[in-house]
Symmetry: C2
């Protein structure tokens, strides 16, 4: 992992480098954040494709602009639940979501 990426993850609240895993995240943690990154990207793409601002999407989700921003940044404070709901709300089908997830392969 590149150290700048690591730094970003740490700032975002991921526990990185806890004794046991001296370099990088454990395999699952890593898979998990890759997954989140893929979905985050998907949210941004879909949103932009629809010409929505973060604020507009937030309203549609009854959430707030800041949550949407964090979501698109795959911030550690946003759950997969919110991402999935967003994707669905923005018109993604399970098939679209599956496609995004496949992009998390070997990240």
């Amino acid at each position: 992992m590149k150290s700048d990426k690591k730094a970003r993850l740490e700032r975002a609240g991921w526990r990185v480098g806890d004794a046991a895993d001296f370099l990088g995240l454990s395999a699952e943690e890593r898979g998990f954040v890759d997954l989140k990154l893929a979905l985050a990207t998907g949210v941004r793409q879909l949103r932009e494709r629809q010409g929505l601002t973060q604020a507009a999407l937030a309203k549609q989700l009854r959430s707030s602009q800041s949550r949407v921003a964090k979501m698109e940044a795959a911030d550690a404070s946003v759950s997969l639940d919110l991402m999935m709901r967003s994707l669905l709300s923005i018109g993604a089908t399970p098939r679209d979501i599956a496609k995004l997830i496949r992009k998390a392969e070997a990240a």
Copy 2:
């Protein structure tokens, strides 16, 4: 939606039939629970395929048997995050997960 399914969902804590949507969930809510159901099924399948009990998987996840049970029942109190982490921990690849999600099409 079949009424027995609706009843199960209600028992599991989903808000069903709140005034506005007099029959069934809103489109996204519905898509969302279908997604959870698909992943829940996946967790159970993978677990059983590995000959693990719920308690054994719980241990591996540093969780508890009851959470695993609720997870496999797609209980409203379990997040997608936990399901995804479980799937990854149990050896599912993004590709496997994508496959599960595609099964949530038109549920």
